[in-house]
Amino acid sequence: MKRLLLSLFLWLPIYAHAALNVFACEPEWGALAREIGGNAVKVYTATTALQDPHRIEARPSLIAQMRRADLVVCSGADLEAGWLPVLLREAGNARVQPGLPGLFEATRFVALLEKPASLDRSQGDLHAAGNPHIHTDPRNLARVGAALAARMAELDPSSAAVYQARWKDFSTRWDAAIARWQVRAAPLRGLPVAVQHKSFSYLLAWLGMKEVVTLEPKPGVEPSVSHLARVAAQLQATPARAVLRAGYQSPRPANWLAERTGIPALALPYTVGGNDRAQDLFGLFDDTLDQLLKLAP
């Protein structure tokens, strides 16, 4: 009965006013906005799980979508520095300019890891503010979600009740899921792994796993064969249980290493849409944990 009332309530706004147009830079934020907004929002996701969020072309289709956005939800911390500023300038949309509530930067709402001590390009493609891949820790999604629900309510007061109700419902289910995942993930504590790019730092920190080596010699720099040979030697001394990579990253370095060292290469979904099972935020972490638990002793 409660659910029926809620769903009736959720259907109402469609007839009351136009939906809030949300432009999500990455799939995880698109999924989060959909969870909070339901039918009261229209979400456009600018990138897919198979695309490298660092390197997106400022395509005309993205400018056209940016033009119509009421709210832009991005990771921030320079992750989109190569394309978002162009979209913001070219679209002529005054609602979503820097400094306005229409531009929501998720990394503002969590404490970032791996803030570089010094900034020099010789150290690779550094993010001055810290590692921007925050969504791989589900607790960060809860923090960002609370702020996002408040922001959506601020921009679209007529649906504020919907956003708050849906957020409450989601966060209850989400907190329960986090507790469940943490219990399941207990055997992963202390498990050593190698990563291709520092995409999973928050996930590993959450689960207490150990990152023993990164395949990229410097952030954003493609690993050469000679560098991979050094990594292989390092892995002889400090073994890892798997090499983790995101779906959009090239399988070659991890596979090369797998062949040499016998350490299995694991393609984690990384974000929503990263594989068949990761079709929503719950599926994303269910699948990630299932894959990781296969490594546990």
């Binding site: 400022a58 056209a64 520095a81 949309n93 400094g99 531009l103 969590v110 923090r143």
Partner: protein, 450 residues
């Protein structure tokens, strides 16, 4: 004090069975202690984890409290983004005294082609938000004995409704390549079409108004008006508008892997005593002065492919542009009889209709490596010199060029390029050109347009 311990030792020696029982008790006690400590350590760990989580939450909250609205996504400091582009090359070229494109009047702003090692433009770029209402951009090209302000403009960011206005000195929005600075070109030199039309690119001092339609299909309309001092116009001592331009673009995606943009542009410029150097029928250099109007139509298309839209591994870009230019007015061929030339300071009607295109494909076949091919073709069309036709030759030669390049980019900020061109842009000449080029960008290098 010692006695009980001593007694125990003696007893232990005397009655081993009793000692064993005592040891078992001790072991059990130890085990219990260990278990209890482990439990306490676990409890402490849990509390620590909880405290860490709370600290992280608190940190995040304090951050949000400190910054209730997000600051700029593009840059996190108040300083403008500054970048410096270093560009240089080695060119292996024939020794040609007066490089030109046969059948076309030379456009201004051509830095020529130096042989051997040389430095290209060194570009200094600064940009930042001025305040919540404007964005500013500045691009300085540094050359020996020459500093040139390529762009210096501000653009509105708060008009909304898809509108944005720009004013100052800027590269015109016409065509496709026009807004790209040389460091963003896909080849070591300019295509023949832009060389014939503008020298390098069309820049103007003036205003631009752009509007993006609220549709899913990208639709953009733009209009510009300005001083019109650059080729094909000339600087003039006058109020009002010297040149204006109109352009429209359409664009979109086809599936996840393909994206495109196409456009039509029109440029109208006025020239007054525009200087040009041509060889007359006696092969003597003659100075010509053109006054009149220059109208150019341009059409462009760009098609980009990347598997699943992920350009990191492989991608392909095709770009082609076409132009048709009409110039009408009068031409004065200055007297060069003293040097053996044919011209006698005569001014008469002039009318030319010329066209051309370039088409290029650039393929990134593996990370960091790209190869590309470009074809240039110009039609010198019809040139009606009136009475000056008696002194100046008219050609029906069609300049062409094939270019092949290979470039390697160790990172997004550095690039090395090798290029070979078979250049037939001058009548009766077929030149093999080799270029070895580097392009490096220091500092906060801004994002590139599509």
């Amino acid at each position: 004090m010692l006695r009980p311990a001593l007694a125990a030792a003696v007893l232990a020696a005397a009655f081993p069975a009793y000692a064993d029982a005592d040891l078992d008790a001790l072991r059990a006690e130890l085990k219990e202690m260990k278990a209890s400590y482990e439990a306490r350590i676990q409890a402490l760990e849990a509390r620590l984890q909880k405290a860490e989580d709370q600290a992280a939450d608190a940190a995040a909250q304090s951050e949000t409290a400190a910054q209730p609205t997000p600051a700029s996504l593009a840059s996190s400091s108040f300083n403008p983004d500054i970048s410096l582009i270093l560009q240089g090359r080695y060119a292996n070229l024939d020794d040609i005294e007066h490089r030109h494109i046969s059948g076309f009047v030379p456009a201004g702003h051509d830095h020529g082609a130096e042989r051997g090692f040389s430095l290209d433009h060194t570009e200094l770029v600064m940009s930042a938000s001025i305040d919540p209402y404007f964005h500013g951009y500045f691009n300085l090209a540094l050359l020996d004995d020459e500093v040139e302000i390529e762009e210096a403009w501000f653009q509105t960011s708060s008009l909304g409704n898809g509108l944005s206005a720009k004013a100052g000195r800027f590269l015109s929005g016409i065509g496709y390549q026009n807004e790209h600075h040389p460091h963003a070109w896909d080849f070591a030199d300019n295509n023949l079409m832009y060389r014939a039309l503008f020298g390098e690119a069309y820049g103007n001092d003036g205003v631009q108004l752009k509007w993006v339609a609220p549709t899913e299909l990208f639709m953009e309309l733009g209009a510009e008006a300005g001083r019109g001092a650059n080729f094909p116009g000339t600087d003039r001592n006058a109020n009002g508008v010297g040149s204006y331009a109109l352009f429209g673009h359409l664009g979109g995606d086809v599936g996840a892997s393909h994206s495109w943009r196409t456009g039509v542009s029109y440029l109208h410029a006025k020239a007054s005593d525009r200087d040009g150097e041509l060889e007359d029928i006696n092969d003597v250099e003659a100075e010509t002065l053109f006054s009149g109007t220059s109208k150019a139509w341009m059409a462009d298309i760009v098609w980009k492919w990347a598997p699943n839209g992920n350009a990191r591994e492989q991608n392909f870009t095709f770009a082609a542009e076409y132009f048709h230019r009409t110039e009408e007015g009068s031409l004065l061929c200055e007297d060069n009889t003293a040097a053996g030339g044919a011209c006698t300071d005569r001014e008469d009607a002039y009318r030319s209709r010329q066209s051309g295109f370039y088409a290029q494909g650039v393929y990134q076949f593996m990370p960091r490596w790209r190869t590309g091919y470009r074809y240039d073709w110009l039609d010198s069309g019809s040139v009606d010199l009136g009475a000056n036709g008696a002194f100046l030759p008219v050609t029906d030669f069609n300049p062409t060029r094939h270019s092949l390049m290979l470039d390697f980019s160790p990172s997004e900020f550095s690039r090395l390029r090798l290029q070979y061109s078979k250049d037939k842009s001058m009548e009766n000449l077929s030149e093999n050109q080799w270029f070895l080029q580097y392009i490096h960008s220091l500092g906060a290098h801004g994002a590139h347009k599509f």
